[in-house]
C-alpha cells in the first residue's frame, strides 16, 4: 500500500471516529461493547443494502457460472495467500507449530498445488490455521475497544480496525503495482468469499430477529474466542434470573 493510501485511510478513520463520537452522544445504547450503536446501525444498513443490491447478485451469478471445483480452487488460491498473514502472526504470537505448519502449507500448496489451486497440504494432514494482526494485538493484552461497523468492510472492533492497514500489508495482492489488477483481484476475492457465504446469509436472514444484534454478538464472540488463551465458557448466571 502506498503512503498516500495509508494516510488517506487514517484520515478517513479519524474522521469516522469524530463523526461517530459526536453522532452517538444522543443514542440510547444497550450494549456496553457497542457505544456507537447509532452510527454502526447506519453503516450496517448501508452495507446490507449494498450487499443486496450489488454484491449478492454478482456472487450468485458467479456461483452459477463457475463450476464448484473451479470455485473451490479459486477459494484455495486466496486462502493460500492468506497463509502468509497467518504465518507472520503465528510467529508474533509465539505459536511456532502453527507458524511452521503454515509455512509448509504455503510451500507445498504453491508448488505442488499449482499456485494454491489444490489444497494438497490439507490432504497431507497439515491443518490450516488462522491468525491476524488484530488477534496478535489482543494476545499482547490490548483490549478490543468498541464494536465498529465499517462501511464496505463490515464488523470490526477498534483494535481490528487499527490492525487493518498492517493486515493489508501481509496480503500479497496489496503489493501488486498495477492498480487495476490489484483492485480486480480484491474484487474477485470479495466475490469469491461472498459466494461461499450465500447459504450462511440465507440462514442469517431466516433466523435473526434483529440482524444487527445477531451479527454483532456472533462477531464479538468469534473475535473473543480467537484471543482467549484457554477455552472459557459463557457463564449464563442462572441464579440471577
Amino acid at each position: 500500500m502506498s503512503d498516500a493510501r495509508l494516510r488517506g485511510f487514517y484520515t478517513a478513520g479519524a474522521l469516522l471516529l469524530i463523526l461517530t463520537l459526536t453522532a452517538c452522544a444522543t443514542v440510547n445504547t444497550r450494549s456496553p461493547s457497542d457505544p456507537l450503536e447509532g452510527i454502526n446501525r447506519t453503516f450496517f444498513q448501508f452495507n446490507d443494502t449494498l450487499d443486496q443490491a450489488a454484491f449478492q447478485p454478482v456472487a450468485k451469478a458467479y456461483a452459477r457460472i463457475v463450476p464448484p471445483p473451479v470455485r473451490t480452487g479459486i477459494t484455495n488460491i486466496f486462502a493460500n495467500m492468506h497463509d502468509i498473514r497467518t504465518l507472520l502472526n503465528s510467529l508474533l504470537q509465539g505459536k511456532i507449530i502453527a507458524g511452521s505448519e503454515s509455512l509448509m502449507r504455503m510451500v507445498i500448496n504453491t508448488f505442488f498445488g499449482v499456485g494454491g489451486f489444490f489444497d494438497v497440504a490439507s490432504g497431507a494432514g497439515l491443518p490450516k490455521h488462522y491468525a491476524d494482526f488484530g488477534q496478535t494485538l489482543g494476545l499482547y493484552g490490548i483490549p478490543p475497544g468498541p464494536y465498529l461497523v465499517l462501511p464496505f468492510w463490515g464488523p470490526k472492533t477498534l483494535r481490528g480496525t487499527i490492525a487493518l492497514p498492517i493486515d493489508l500489508q501481509t496480503l500479497p495482492i496489496s503489493h501488486i503495482d498495477i492498480l487495476y489488477r490489484r483492485y480486480a483481484l480484491y474484487g474477485w476475492r470479495a466475490v469469491s468469499r461472498r459466494a461461499e457465504l450465500l447459504q450462511a446469509g440465507q440462514l442469517l436472514e431466516n433466523t435473526a430477529l434483529d440482524k444487527y444484534t445477531f451479527v454483532r454478538n456472533a462477531y464479538l464472540q468469534y473475535r473473543k474466542s480467537l484471543v482467549q488463551q484457554k477455552d472459557s465458557l459463557p457463564d449464563y448466571q442462572e441464579e440471577d434470573e
Binding site: R30, S31, T72, T75, N76, A79, D119, S122, P127, K128, Q199, Q202, L203, N206, T207, A208, L209, D210, T213, F214, N217, A218, Q221, Y222, K224, S225, L226, D231, L233, P234, Y236, E238, D240, E241
Partner: protein
C-alpha cells in the same frame, strides 16, 4: 481336643466370613459393572455416537438430503432431540425474562424455539457429505455435571471448531448449547430475545416466533 475343634470352628468361621466378604464384594463389583453397562455413556462418547449416526443416516438417505421435511423431522426427533435439553436451552436464551412467562407460555416458547432451530438447520442437511469430524481429547473430572466436548469439522478443506456443552441429568448427558467457531448459540440468541421481549413482551416474542415458523413450514424448500 476341645482346642482342636475350637480351632477348626474358628477357621471355618473365618473362611465363611472371608467367602461372604469376597462374594459380597464380588457381588457389588459385578452389580456395579451391570450398572455401568446400562448406565449413561460418557459425554464424549455420546457426541461421537450421535454425530456418526446422524451423518451416516443422512449420507445413506437421498430423500433426507433432498430436504424431505418429514424425514428430517424424524431424524431430529429420533436421533437428536432425545439427547438435547431444549427446555434448558430456551430458559437460558430467555434469560431474565423466563420467569415472566407463565408455565404455558414457557412450554410454547420451548416448542417455538425448537422449531426455529429446526427450520434454521434443516436446510443444512443437504450439505452433509464427506465432512471429516475429529474429536479433541476429552478432559473432565469424574464428578463434573457440566462439560464441553470439543470437535473439529473439516468442511471444504477448512477446519471449524464445533463444541457441545452438556449437562448431566438422571436420564443421561444432554446437550444444551452448541458453539460453532467459538460462537455459542445461546449467547447469540439471548441478546436478540432479550431486546425483543423488552420491546414486545413475551406475548410479542411468542407470536413472532409462531408466525416465522408457520411461514417457513408453508414455504419450505431445501
Amino acid at each position: 481336643m476341645k482346642d482342636a475343634i475350637m480351632k477348626q470352628a474358628f477357621s471355618l468361621l473365618v473362611l465363611f466370613m472371608i467367602s461372604t466378604l469376597l462374594l459380597s464384594v464380588g457381588g457389588i463389583a459385578s452389580a456395579k459393572n451391570v450398572e455401568k453397562e446400562t448406565k449413561i455413556d460418557p459425554p464424549d462418547q455420546l457426541i461421537r455416537t450421535i454425530t456418526t449416526d446422524v451423518m451416516n443416516t443422512i449420507k445413506q438417505d437421498p430423500a433426507l438430503r433432498n430436504g424431505d421435511l418429514k424425514k428430517i423431522t424424524q431424524l431430529v426427533d429420533q436421533k437428536i432431540l432425545p439427547h438435547a435439553n431444549m427446555a434448558h436451552t430456551t430458559r437460558l436464551v430467555l434469560g431474565r425474562h423466563w420467569k415472566k412467562a407463565t408455565a404455558k407460555q414457557q412450554q410454547q416458547l420451548v416448542t417455538q424455539f425448537k422449531d426455529l432451530l429446526f427450520y434454521t438447520y434443516a436446510g443444512a442437511v443437504a450439505y452433509i457429505d464427506n465432512q471429516k469430524v475429529s474429536y479433541k481429547p476429552f478432559i473432565a473430572s469424574p464428578n463434573a455435571t457440566d462439560v464441553v466436548v470439543q470437535t473439529e469439522v473439516i468442511h471444504q478443506g477448512k477446519p471449524y471448531a464445533v463444541n457441545y456443552r452438556l449437562e448431566k441429568t438422571t436420564s443421561g448427558w444432554k446437550v444444551y448449547d452448541v458453539a460453532i467457531g467459538g460462537v455459542w448459540q445461546v449467547l447469540t440468541f439471548r441478546e436478540q430475545f432479550n431486546d425483543y421481549v423488552s420491546e414486545h413482551g413475551i406475548v410479542g416474542l411468542l407470536s413472532y416466533l409462531t408466525e416465522q415458523n408457520q411461514r417457513r413450514a408453508a414455504s419450505w424448500q431445501p
